[in-house]
Symmetry: C2
Subunit: 141 residues, 2 copies
DNA sequence: GATACAAGGTAACTATGTGAGACCAGCGCC
DNA sequence: GGCGCTGGTCTCACATAGTTACCTTGTATC
């Protein structure tokens, strides 16, 4: 069945906060809030780095690891699996002499690149101000 | 995500990704990478919710807590402090009968609203596809 | 036989984020 | 005096994220 070997770690649904009640603005704290979903995905330590790497084109497992030297194999595997589970990354196994596995962005995965780029642009523009504010705050203590 | 001190991993200069034409991508895994800074800030559980609440106007401490019912006082205080430290939120104390504290976005804080809105728009558009992919993946196990 | 690579799996451990809830100050109220 | 409100701080405990290290299967190389 596709690439899916029968052995996969048990998927752990991310539990969310108990239901809130009352008005819901566009910023909802509900469990099924899509924002929460997205931020839980890209908010971790490695997802954006991996997406950025795959944005340059398909990579094999070890190629991703070379591109992001300080990631451990375990986290690379796990993050890749999570991204695959969410349909942002596709995994293809080629039965070459040493079997090689290739990861690439799906069409859906490509669409997150632009929102991410907007955020990155903001980060680049603002990080000087943030660092200044941070220093000022820390010295004011 | 990293609250408090920035956890500095050993900065590793990385070579150009294989297969790419030597262009330096904006996706760096360096420790002082602004993207990491931003995602560490907004990637946590409450920051975006608080920013969204304050986007509607200044709020007092307890008003924010009413707007986000499932946040604990501890996390509210801590996240507000972190946002203040980064210059995204300003804190003003008024010596009223019970002293009241008002939080509002700084001009810098206002500027993150748009990148965030772009991301939220993507999340809204894509969360159906993500959930579908997730279900398919989970059942393929 | 020993070593290395491919792409992982797994266990043991640590670090951190988050939550629950007690406690604190000053003030008003009855 | 006792209770509640304001905006916090504090400690304890837990669950999850993340790291390190060692294991697998098979082929190729030394």
């Amino acid at each position: 069945m596709g690439h899916g070997e029968a052995k996969v770690t048990t998927p752990q649904p991310r539990a969310a906060a108990p239901g809130s009640s009352g008005k819901r603005p566009q910023w909802s704290s509900d469990a099924d809030c899509p924002v929460r979903d997205v931020l839980d995905r890209i908010g971790d330590k490695w997802s954006t780095l991996i997406l950025g790497t795959l944005a340059e084109g398909p990579h094999r497992f070890s190629a991703v690891q070379r591109a992001i030297p300080d990631i451990s194999k375990r986290m690379l595997t796990q993050t890749l699996r999570d991204l695959e589970r969410d349909g942002l990354v596709a995994r293809a196994v080629y039965p070459t002499k040493p079997p090689s596995v290739e990861y690439r962005l799906t069409p859906l995965g490509e669409t997150i690149l632009e929102p991410l780029a907007v955020l990155i642009r903001w980060a680049d523009l603002s990080h000087a101000a943030i660092r200044t504010a941070r220093s000022a705050f820390d010295e004011a203590i």
